[in-house]
């Protein structure tokens, strides 16, 4: 087997795993810090809670998969089924995006963030099958105070 391939796989696994662990620790810490402000999805067709001011807040993050994840998912492509390795990437993206939105809202002085929506898009060319495999997750909502 190609030595370069093995090196890339090892770098992807060890570095990717380390960074992912650090990121999750960071996310959990910040989630605990901001837990006092509710983030809710209602507000689109319901009446908003009584408030003096409202403002839009948007948090966005781009997360990339590592080489190991890409190879594991290409194997998964052959047999089908749940792409377990990408679940953590998406989870990191969603939670990080919500946190960024929430942190902005808190610094503005929001008592809660309503009507929160999440959107995901892929970045990078998917046709060649090589190159960047990254997702952008955007969270936006209305902060009220």
């Amino acid at each position: 087997m190609d030595i370069v391939f093995v090196i890339l796989l090892c770098v992807g696994y060890f570095v990717g795993n380390y960074l992912e662990k650090k990121h999750f620790q960071n996310i959990k810490k910040r989630e605990r810090q901001t837990i006092h402000v509710p983030v809710v999805t209602f507000g689109a067709k319901q009446e908003l809670p009584d408030a003096n001011e409202a403002a839009l807040f948007l948090g966005s993050v781009v997360v990339s998969a590592d080489y190991f994840k890409m190879f594991a998912s290409s194997l998964r492509n052959l047999v089908g089924g749940r792409v377990v390795v990408y679940e953590s990437v998406l989870d990191r993206g969603r939670r990080e995006a919500i946190l960024r939105m929430k942190e902005q809202a808190i610094s503005w002085g929001a008592t809660q963030v309503v009507n929160v929506r999440l959107e995901t898009s892929t970045i990078g060319n998917r046709t060649s099958g090589k190159g960047l495999v990254a997702i952008e997750v955007t969270a936006y909502g209305t902060g009220i105070r």
């Binding site: 696994y13 795993n17 989630e31 605990r32 837990i35 006092h36 509710p38 190991f68 994840k69 594991a72 194997l75 998964r76 052959l78 047999v79 749940r82 377990v84 390795v85 679940e87 953590s88 998406l90 989870d91 969603r94 939670r95 809660q112």
Partner: protein, 287 residues
């Protein structure tokens, strides 16, 4: 409504499985399935090689030869007729397995002969030009005939036989780029040592039945043996697809003496100047 802060539970959106275990499982699945396909294809190919119907084989052969026929230059009717009758004589000696065979003379700078599915024998003009007697030419033909009778040409195709069969069953592949690419490698088929010696014995047997002796029939191989050291030698191409050692020549002589085949006798000459090369192509090869 009162908001009660709660910590977000883990492991809802992320499956708690170690990435390496997941990876090992995937790798194992892919490896097992590919091995299975490889083994099954091999088994099917072996079954096909021994059981394929003559009609199917002819179809596959047609598919392979249709590309080659375009490359053929105009065939000398006299040469073709002579080779056909020579082959017919050889086949007559073995009445057990008669199938119609077609000889294709190919213009090529290399000296080689091969058998394709469907009873198509390819023989290059260079090999014909180098033949010094009918006996040695007959041996080359009989050797390929031996491969045909033993179905070595089908076995040699290996797993691609399955794809060729499916392609010709579906009626696709003729003129297809893949098949054209394959025909290039068809003349480079490698047979096992056992298959080669079996074809040799078959050939010598046919020669002895046809001419009453095996004299001069091995001249062609003897010449390869001496030319083999020169990598530029034209005969070395035949050598590359028909690995020939002194051992094999010795074995043939041994078998001949065991079975009481005469190795002495009158040499049959080729018809006058029938395979002489055109002067211009000759000068090209000398340079």
């Amino acid at each position: 409504m009162v908001y009660k802060p709660k910590e977000i539970p883990e492991d809802i959106n992320v499956t708690s499985v170690h990435p390496l275990i997941n990876f090992a499982y995937l790798l194992g699945t892919v490896a097992v399935v590919s091995t299975l396909i490889y083994v099954v294809l091999g088994a099917i190919a072996t079954q096909l090689a021994t059981r394929i119907s003559p009609e199917m084989e002819a179809k596959i052969g047609q598919q392979l030869v249709s590309d080659l026929a375009k490359k053929d230059k105009k065939v000398d009717a006299k040469q073709q007729q002579y080779l056909d009758s020579l082959l017919a004589d050889l086949q007559k000696s073995d009445s057990s397995s008669y199938t119609p065979l077609t000889i294709h003379i190919q213009k090529s700078p290399v000296s080689n002969a091969a058998i394709l599915p469907g009873g198509h024998i390819l023989i290059t003009a260079t090999l014909l030009a180098e033949a010094e007697s009918e006996n040695e030419l007959a041996f080359v033909l009989a050797h390929e005939l031996g491969h045909h009778v033993a179905r070595d040409h089908l076995k040699g195709l290996g797993r691609s036989l399955v794809f060729l069969t499916v392609a010709s069953m579906l009626g696709i592949g003729s003129g297809d780029a893949n098949v054209v690419g394959m025909t290039g490698s068809l003349t480079n088929l490698h047979y096992s040592r056992q298959q080669e010696s079996a074809a040799d014995v078959y050939a010598l047997n046919a020669i002895v039945r046809c001419y009453g002796h095996g004299n001069a029939s091995l001249d062609f191989f003897n010449r390869i043996q001496t030319e083999q050291k020169d990598p530029r030698g034209k005969l070395s191409s035949y050598f590359s697809t028909h690995p020939l050692t002194q051992q094999r020549i010795n074995d043939l002589h041994q078998i001949a003496s065991q079975r009481g085949w005469k190795m002495e006798g009158d040499i049959t000459n080729l018809p006058d100047k029938i395979f002489d090369e055109e002067p211009n192509s000759k000068s090209n090869q000398e340079s």
